[in-house]
Each structure stands twice: as C-alpha cells, then as structure tokens.
C-alpha cells in the first residue's frame, strides 16, 4: 500500500482522520459549532485561528479528553481498520487507534529522566512483553529483549530530537525548546499513525523553531506519521503545512492549501491582520460579503 500523497490519486485510503459535524458545548458556550474537516495521510495539516477559537478543544475531542456533544470522528489506519474516536476512552485512542498528542502547556514527567519519559511512552508494548509484569518479575519470557528494543527506539527518537546528550538528565532540567521536542519524541515513541501537536512552536526562539521544523519533516518522511498541528506562527504554518483549516469562534471559516487560505479575505480579517493601507479594502470586502449573506 502506498503512503506518499503524491503517488496515489485521491481515494478514500488517503484520508486518515475525518471529523463530521463536531460540536462541543460547555454550559451555554458553543466552543465548537458543526465543525467538519478531513486530514490526509502523510500530510501535515495545520489548524489555525485566533485565541479561544476552540482549537485545543478540537484536539481534546479527537484524543478523547472531552466527549463531544455531537459529531463523529473517524480514524482510518493504514491497515484499513477504522475507529470511531468519540466512542473510545482516552487511553485507548492512543493504545488502539494509534493517535498521539502533545499539550499546549508541556506535560512531561519532570522528575523522571529523558530516557525514562520515552520508556513510559512504550508502556503497552512492554507490559505485554513482560506478561503483564508476572513473567518479567520471574525473569521469563521476552521482556529483556523487548526492553532492549524499547531503549533502541528511544535512542532513535532522541537522535531525531537532538536530545541524545541529555538522555540521563531529568526532563524538568531541559530548556523550554528541548522540553517541547522531548514531548514530541515521547509521543512518537507510542508509534502513532496520527500525531496531534498543540502549539509546538509557541515560545521558541528562531533557532529552536528551525530545529522543530526539521523534526516535524523527518517525522512525516521517516515514520510516515501524519501530523496535525495547532500553530500561531504563520511562517511555520506556511512553510511546513500541506493543508490549513481555519477556525473562528468554533466555526470553520476556511479550508485549503496554505496559498488558498493566505489569500482568503475572511481569514485575513479574522486572523492574519492586514497592512494599514489595505484595511479599508478588506473591511469593504468583508462588509459586502456579510451584506450578501444577510440580504
């Protein structure tokens, strides 16, 4: 089965995540309102929008931390197996459906070493190999071999994230940028097919940002993992994403290639901001659009 997006013509196989009519209500607040989109396999999909638009809430629905009020979230694995994510408990979404995520405010096991963080991520695999602890405790079965393999996988991702020299340091001791990369490496150690990154570049300096971009590209290229990311830094979005979805007040306002979205007047007005001399132009455009819609 082919994975590279360019090689196959558009077919159902190309879609890894399909979100249909997703709505999430917090009390009286409609944080997400009838939101639908599709993410293609092997692509980097960016979800953008102003603060409070509901981006993190979308992630929380996909990864099972919130149960959506309405809507259907379908994940289709390479093998063709399909999962309805809104019906799975959060940990099974990672374990069975192979969706991994990071958090807007980094959540590392700060008192454990960098290596240990990556080993915890391989919990389910190791648990099975250790015969659910019993066999491993008695020293029988393949736990030792699996444990060695898990360290190799951890090493691989440490190399990729440029953290190999810090492997034995506490995660809480890393710099902010390194912590961001470690969180991504840790998510990759769960061997996901779909990776959700919540503002991975927030707070990074340009050099760290560049390292991050490199890491994301290599994830897509080497591991064949499809990525969805929330990002504020437009240069990052335009540079690495294949597909952009724009959210405002819980509604989708635009969806398409970075080029398309960049030139969408609704997006410009809502999010990108505009040059001073273009303001009037944009307002006129938006007003004529609104007028059309109302009248």
């Amino acid at each position: 089965m082919t994975m590279a997006p360019g090689n196959t013509t558009m077919s159902k196989d190309d879609i890894i995540l399909k979100v249909e009519h997703l709505s999430m209500k917090f009390g009286g607040l409609m944080a997400i309102n009838d939101f639908s989109f599709e993410a293609k396999r092997g692509e980097i999909t960016a979800l953008i929008g102003p603060n409070g638009a509901g981006k993190t809430t979308v992630f929380n629905c996909i990864t099972g931390f919130y149960k959506p009020t309405m809507g259907m979230i379908t994940l289709r694995q390479k093998s063709g197996k399909e999962f309805l994510l809104e019906r799975l408990p959060d940990f099974e979404i990672t374990k069975k459906a192979k969706v991994a995520r990071t958090f807007q405010n980094i959540r590392l096991f700060s008192g454990m070493t960098v290596l240990e963080n990556l080993l915890v991520a391989q919990h389910n695999k190791l648990m099975k190999a250790s015969g659910y602890t019993v066999m491993g405790l008695l020293g029988i079965g393949g736990y030792k071999a699996e444990s060695r393999r898990s360290i190799e996988l951890a090493e691989h991702w440490l190399e990729m994230a440029d953290l190999i020299d810090r492997a034995d340091d506490p995660a809480g001791d890393l710099s902010y940028g390194a912590q961001r990369r470690l969180e991504i490496a840790r998510a990759m150690c769960t061997e996901p097919e779909f990776l959700c990154l919540d503002e991975p570049a927030a707070g990074l300096n340009p050099a760290e940002s560049a390292t991050l971009n490199k890491l994301l590209r290599s994830i897509r290229a080497d591991a064949g993992t499809s990525i969805m990311l929330i990002e504020h830094d437009m240069s990052v979005v335009m540079e690495i994403s294949d597909h952009v979805v724009v959210l405002e007040y819980g509604r989708k306002i635009s969806d398409g290639t970075p080029e398309h979205v960049k030139n969408d007047p609704k997006v410009i007005a809502a999010y990108l901001g505009v040059d001073d001399d273009e303001v009037e132009d944009v307002i006129a455009t938006v007003e004529s659009l609104d007028g059309g819609a109302n009248g």
């Binding site: 990864t63 931390f65 959060d90 940990f91 099974e92 979404i93 990672t94 374990k95 991994a100 995520r101 958090f103 959540r107 590392l108 096991f109 700060s110 008192g111 454990m112 070493t113 290596l115 240990e116 080993l119 915890v120 991520a121 391989q122 919990h123 389910n124 190791l126 648990m127 250790s130 602890t133 491993g136 405790l137 736990y143 360290i151 090493e155 440490l158 190999i164 492997a167 034995d168 340091d169 506490p170 995660a171 809480g172 001791d173 840790r186 998510a187 769960t190």
Partner: protein, 460 residues
C-alpha cells in the same frame, strides 16, 4: 558562616537592631496570647465560688522566652540557615555517590544478619529478648509497612491515610483462619497478603476518581470502617476483647515451645522464648527483603514506571495510552499485599490481636515514616523507621529521666511529642525527607540521581 563574618559590621548592627525589634514584637504578641491562658488562673475557693488570680511570674517567663527566642532566631538562627543553604547550593555539583554510600545497604544487611547473634552473645538468651524483639522486630515491621505504603504514596503518588486497614486485614486473616480452621502460618501468610490485596482493590475502585485531599479523606474513612467492623462484628472477631492464643509460626513443622519435639529440645538447647523471637526476627527480615526486592524489580518494569509517571502527571499518562485505572488499582493492591504480609506476621508474633492495634495513629506513623524517609526511597524509609520507632523504644529505656522530672514521669507518654518535633525538624532541614533524590530506573550512559526538586509528590 563565612558570609556573615565577611560582611562589614554595619549589617551586623542592623541584625541586632532587627532582632531587638522583632523580639519586642514577639514579646508583645506572647503577652497578648498568654495573658488569659497563663496569666490568669481560676480556682474554686472553700465557698465553692470561682475566683481568679494572676500569675505574673509565669506569664513573664513565657513572654521572656518568646522575646529572647525570637531575638536569637533573627540574630543567630536565620543567618546560620542562610549560610547553610548557600553551602548546600555549592555542594550540589559534586553529588557523586561515594563508595561508602554504595556499600551501605550490604553492610546494613550483614549487620542485620548478625544482629540476633550479637544480642545473644552480649546479653545472653534472656537478655537478648529486649534487643531482638522490642528493637529489631518492631523496627523491621515498620520498615516493611513503610516500604509497602511507599508503593502507593511514594511511587504512585496516591495519598493513603488508611494503610493500617490492610495491616489489620492481614492480622485478622491469620488470627481468625488459624484459630478457627487450624491452618498453618505458611499457608496463611500468602493468603493474608492476597486477602489484603483484594481489599486494596475494593478500596481502589470507589476512590479512583478522587484525587488529593478527597482521596486522603476517603482512605482515612476506609481505615476507620475496617476498625469499626472489627470492633462491632463481635461474633467473629470478639470485638474489643480481641483474639488471643493465636498459634505461633513454625519452622518446617518444628514448634517453638518447651515440648519434647520443640525447637530447643531438638537442638539440645535450654528452653527459652528467645529462640522464637530470633526466628521471628529472621522471618520479618526475609519479608522486608522480599518487599525491597519486589519494589526494586517493579520500579524497573513498565508497571513501576507507570506508577511513577502517574505521580508526575496523570493526564500525560492517559495521553500515552496508559490505563490509569488498572495502574492505580495495582498500586493499591500490591501496597496492600505487603501490609497484609506484615499484618499476619504481627499476629503470629503477638499471639493476640485487637482493634486497638489498628488505630488511625498507626497509619499516620507509617505515612510519617515514608515522608520523612523521602518518598520513593527504600534506604531513606528504613532510616526513618529506625530513627522514629527505635527512638520511641529508646524512650522506654530512659529511666534516668525520672531522676530529673520526678518519679511520676513516664517518658513513653512524650512519644508523640518527640515524633512531631522530629518531623518538624526534618521537614525544615530536608523538606524532601532523608533521601530527597530519585534513582532513575534506566540509563543510556550514566546513572545520575534525579534531584528531589524535579520530582512531584502526586496529587492523589
């Protein structure tokens, strides 16, 4: 101290001034606080009327203590502490483990193996009883309980205030099943552990959703429920009378009594209860070693890492596909199992169990040992148990205090006072317990201890 000496005299003057100011302030506050409590005393006179009089001298003593104490704290205590802190910061760099520190567990084990022999050699069989039983066994029981609770509190970060319940389940399992059904100690030891683990799960289920304070309260209540059941289910447990003449443990079927085929007779030794105690000492030592071995092994297994990860961040655990429900339940169950082992040992040692042995204070002491030792650290917890339990046992020995405080003075009564004072002191100087750092469970190039400032205590 260097910092204080090097500084010019000006800050020192300042310090004295500040000390006097704060001293006077403390004196005024003490005066206000103690005026009614200490300064005024009410008594009944012969006419049965309530009269009051002032105790100016006693009040003055309290006020002066407060004022002078505060002055000393400000002028001497605080600069010293600050200097210490600065020292400690400089020392962090060379925190490499010395060879001695590495050999310490082995030395301790050799000492423990030889300990009963030493006691018998130095004090004779009868004289050794005190050292083997009151000190040795007593401390080791708490070491084992501390290590068992450490799995729940220290590793998984679930605050359990009712741990003594599992100790009670183990003790009563042995007491009841051996007196009613005549089952042997060696059958009942694992069974008690299993039963306690089962109760650990029963407790675990309802509290899974609770965190922090709520979890602590519910576990506390669970401990009380078990105790109240033991008191009130008197048909089976004989209530507050407790269960007595519980059969002793045997060594491969050999009994420790004065009979013809008892241990002493078989070995050609003079009959003495010391042999049973020595046997019990080695038994509890073996149980402790088992607990330590299992804990060390489990920490390096995925389940142990998941416990620690749970303590660090539960949400991240769920995002990594870890089933936090089963992870918490296994922590409760395995922690409870060791409590159950210790409980059945306790019943076999005492020959008598009653609900009085399983009061909340016991849970509190075990938790205090875990916290003082440094959560998660086996060595630290063992030291804490040695200091706390050994210390309180030592109090009993301090007859000479009677000379100072009068013949009515019973030092044991001050047990809790000292326990509390020791806790406050340790927490002031070593807020992470005796051993604040954490040993990583895996490493790529070198094993570096993780400083306590990075680890979390868990939120429930």
């Amino acid at each position: 101290m260097a910092a204080v000496q090097n500084s010019s005299t000006h800050p020192e003057d300042n310090l004295v001034q500040k000390g006097i100011k704060e001293g006077i302030f403390a004196g005024v506050i003490a005066f206000g606080l103690f005026l009614l409590y200490i300064g005024v005393v009410t008594e009944q006179n012969i006419h049965n009327e309530l009269v009051y009089r002032f105790r100016w001298f006693a009040l003055a003593v309290f006020v002066i203590i407060a004022a002078v104490g505060r002055f000393l704290v400000v002028t001497v205590g605080q600069p010293w502490l600050a200097a210490r802190k600065a020292d400690a910061k400089n020392k962090v760099a060379d925190s490499g483990e010395s060879a001695l520190k590495k050999a310490l567990p082995k030395l301790a084990l050799v000492f423990l193996l030889a300990y009963p022999m030493l006691a018998v050699g130095l004090a004779g069989p009868q004289g050794s009883l005190k050292y083997v039983d009151n000190f040795g066994i007593q401390i080791l029981i708490y070491v084992m309980l501390g290590w068992g609770l450490n799995i729940v509190v220290g590793l998984a970060g679930l605050l359990d205030l009712g741990y003594v319940a599992f100790y009670a389940v183990g003790a009563y399992s042995y007491a009841l099943l051996s007196t009613y059904f005549g089952l042997s100690f060696w059958v009942l030891l694992p069974l008690s552990g299993i039963l306690a683990a089962f109760w650990g799960m029963i407790l675990g289920f309802p509290v899974l959703r609770l965190r922090g304070d709520y979890l602590a309260i519910v576990t506390l209540a669970f401990g009380e429920i078990i105790r109240l059941v033991l008191i009130n289910w008197s048909d089976v447990t004989k209530g507050t009378f407790g269960i007595s003449s519980i059969p002793k443990a045997t060594l491969f079927g050999i009994k420790f009594d004065a009979s013809k085929d008892g241990f002493a007779a078989l070995m050609g030794l003079a009959p003495s209860s010391a042999y049973y105690k020595i046997f019990l000492f080695y038994l509890i030592l073996a149980l402790c070693l088992l607990t330590a071995y299992v804990t060390i092994r489990l920490r390096r297994m995925p389940i142990g890492r998941a416990w620690e990860a749970l303590r660090e961040d539960e949400i991240a655990c769920r995002a990594l596909g870890i089933n936090t429900v089963t992870t918490k339940l296994t922590a409760f169950a395995i922690g409870a199992m060791f409590g159950g082992f210790a409980g059945s040992f306790f019943a076999a040692r005492q020959g008598f169990v009653s609900p009085d042995s399983f009061i909340f204070m016991e849970s509190a002491i075990i938790l205090a040992i875990v916290v003082l030792g440094g959560m998660g650290s086996l060595g630290g917890i063992a030291v804490a148990a040695l200091v706390m339990i050994g210390g309180t046992e030592l109090l009993r020995e301090m007859e000479f205090l009677k000379v100072i405080f009068g013949p009515d003075f019973t030092p044991e009564l001050y047990r809790m006072l000292l326990f509390g004072a020791a806790m406050v002191l340790v927490m002031l100087f070593k807020p992470r317990g005796f051993v604040g750092s954490r040993e990583p469970t895996a490493f790529l190039r070198e094993r570096k201890a993780v400083s306590g400032s990075f680890t979390k205590e868990g939120h429930g």
